[in-house]
């Protein structure tokens, strides 16, 4: 939930001057996204999301994110399109912050996805991977295998309070991941944070993908591995192979995985679990007790990591070869 920066009367007047967007009918701060301040604007012509970028987003990455959305939307991927200012820019300044106005997408995110949602996800994920192939922007993944140990080290002192023995377990897992992390897999622009709250559905059909603020160059199969973690586990921690099969088979209707990707998927899924474990652990230990944002339990991802460690082949994810 996030509205870190307030929008003043003058900011709204600046906005109306900057964009050809119709007359403002309403402006509500919305509780979405944890990195930025977001407002839902309705005008006489359309609805928009106004995003003010806060400190956690590196402003030099913004042209990449906005350019990517524009590129994907132009190729039929249902994602928000940045609206250009009267001067032709997608990036502006509101309330002293870098800001962008993007189109509003209808749809509702599901809290607990079913196989039908995973079908839509897999298909759109593959289409997105292909659609971004001719996007010129470049952004390194700053939360890749070489970065996880650093995040973990900063949370290390608190790790044992979360679960005794965690420091040793994670340390040896990091050793393994760093040693064996696959190289040379098909690469391109990936979303890298495609959790259910970033995907909208209308009547169980995928209607939108949002929040491209972790997008970067990395292995396509790593994006799939993130989705396996984010979409295919039940609340009780069990893995739902029906959902995974739906996700993977739908992906393959658009883009067939190469053998190397098939082989690498269990290890990539371990890595993806590690990536969300280390950042959740850091947030868990660094969120003040009274904050309205409740941090997510990091141990959930230790359990997922353990699941993937026991997976021998991608057949156990429902991927038949």
């Amino acid at each position: 939930m996030a509205v870190y920066t307030d929008v003043s009367d003058k900011d709204l007047a600046d906005l109306a001057r900057a964009y050809d967007m119709g007359d403002l009918l309403s402006c509500k701060g919305i509780a979405e996204g944890v990195e930025n301040s977001n407002f839902l604007l309705r005008t006489t012509t359309a609805s928009f999301i106004l995003t003010l970028y806060e400190k956690r987003v590196d402003s030099k990455d913004l042209p990449f994110f906005l350019g990517l959305m524009e590129h994907l939307a132009g190729r039929g991927i249902p994602c928000p399109t940045p609206v250009k200012t009267r001067a032709g820019d997608t990036l502006t300044t509101i309330a002293g912050r870098p800001a962008a106005l993007i189109t509003f997408l209808d749809g509702v995110s599901v809290k607990l996805a079913g196989p039908r949602h995973c079908l839509g996800l897999g298909e759109t994920l593959a289409k997105m991977h292909l659609a971004a192939r001719d996007f010129a922007g470049v952004r390194k993944n700053t939360l890749s295998v070489g970065d996880w140990r650093g995040v973990f080290e900063r949370a290390r002192d608190g790790a044992e309070t979360v679960r005794p023995g965690l420091t040793r377990d994670i340390g040896s897992e990091l050793d393994r991941l760093e040693k064996d992390w696959p190289a040379g897999l098909p690469q391109g622009v990936i979303h890298a944070d495609l959790f259910p709250d970033n995907v909208f559905f209308l009547n169980d059909r995928l209607s939108g993908i949002i929040d491209f603020y972790f997008a970067c160059q990395d292995a396509f199969a790593y994006d799939i591995a993130i989705c396996l973690n984010a979409w295919c586990f039940e609340r009780d921690g069990s893995f739902n192979i029906t959902k995974a099969r739906a996700l993977l088979s739908a992906y393959e209707t658009v883009r067939r995985l190469e053998d190397a990707e098939y082989e690498a998927l269990p290890l990539l899924a371990r890595g993806a679990a590690m990536r969300f474990f280390v950042t959740r652990l850091y947030d868990w230990l660094n969120t003040p007790p009274g904050a309205l944002v409740k941090p997510k339990d990091p141990l959930e991802y230790v359990r997922r990591l353990q699941f993937h460690r026991d997976v021998k082949t991608s057949r156990e994810y429902g991927l038949d070869r």
Copy 2:
């Protein structure tokens, strides 16, 4: 900013079953109101606000609040109208909480109101007072003159840390207010929390009044006194008599103040300043340091109280008699 309760897939399905509201297009938690969780819903037929009432609102008061909105909206006051469930109720249960679906009002609240806004406010305030005269509901003001000392006592230990000498000053002011508080003024249903964030404008014309969750029976002039405090001071603490005159003269075009109200206004304004001072002081001292909701400076209202204490007659508010 407030989304205390999450709405699940099942809650949204329950909602669609409970109301004849069209197909859901989107649902966003919004950062508005500090007592309840609010969601902006768009459906194929309209936009709505879904409010889940949290613990700070006494659920036995809800029929009063919802009935009042329905009553006022039916008499042309621009306020949200509760939507009835298919069973004909305005109150339902969503996510285990009392909940209501209300119509969405266009408009934007102003951060710094000008005289034109105060004109619209005064006129609508008077119309609202008259429109509620035949409303049958009854709710005692639970934050009236007899209640302020109790709130202050609970914050007393911290008061001296906010400003040395505050305990003594506020104590003697409470003595005076309790002794001299006017009785017998014209009464009815008042809004009791009509701050700029609860009033919407479109092109400087008042388009909506929201948040009736402090509404109660009390003196009409006390509601005016609250507005004088909430709308007529500048950021630097100075009193803007042009705004006050606009507010009061517009009010009197609809409902002329009786002599007793004219006489009582300075004291009522002191009381209104005290009412917001004590609750702000309490929140100031009881908000955890890391919370996203930043408490408002209580001393602002001590300065307003001091201003009203120096007012000899309502002429100093721009009210000519």
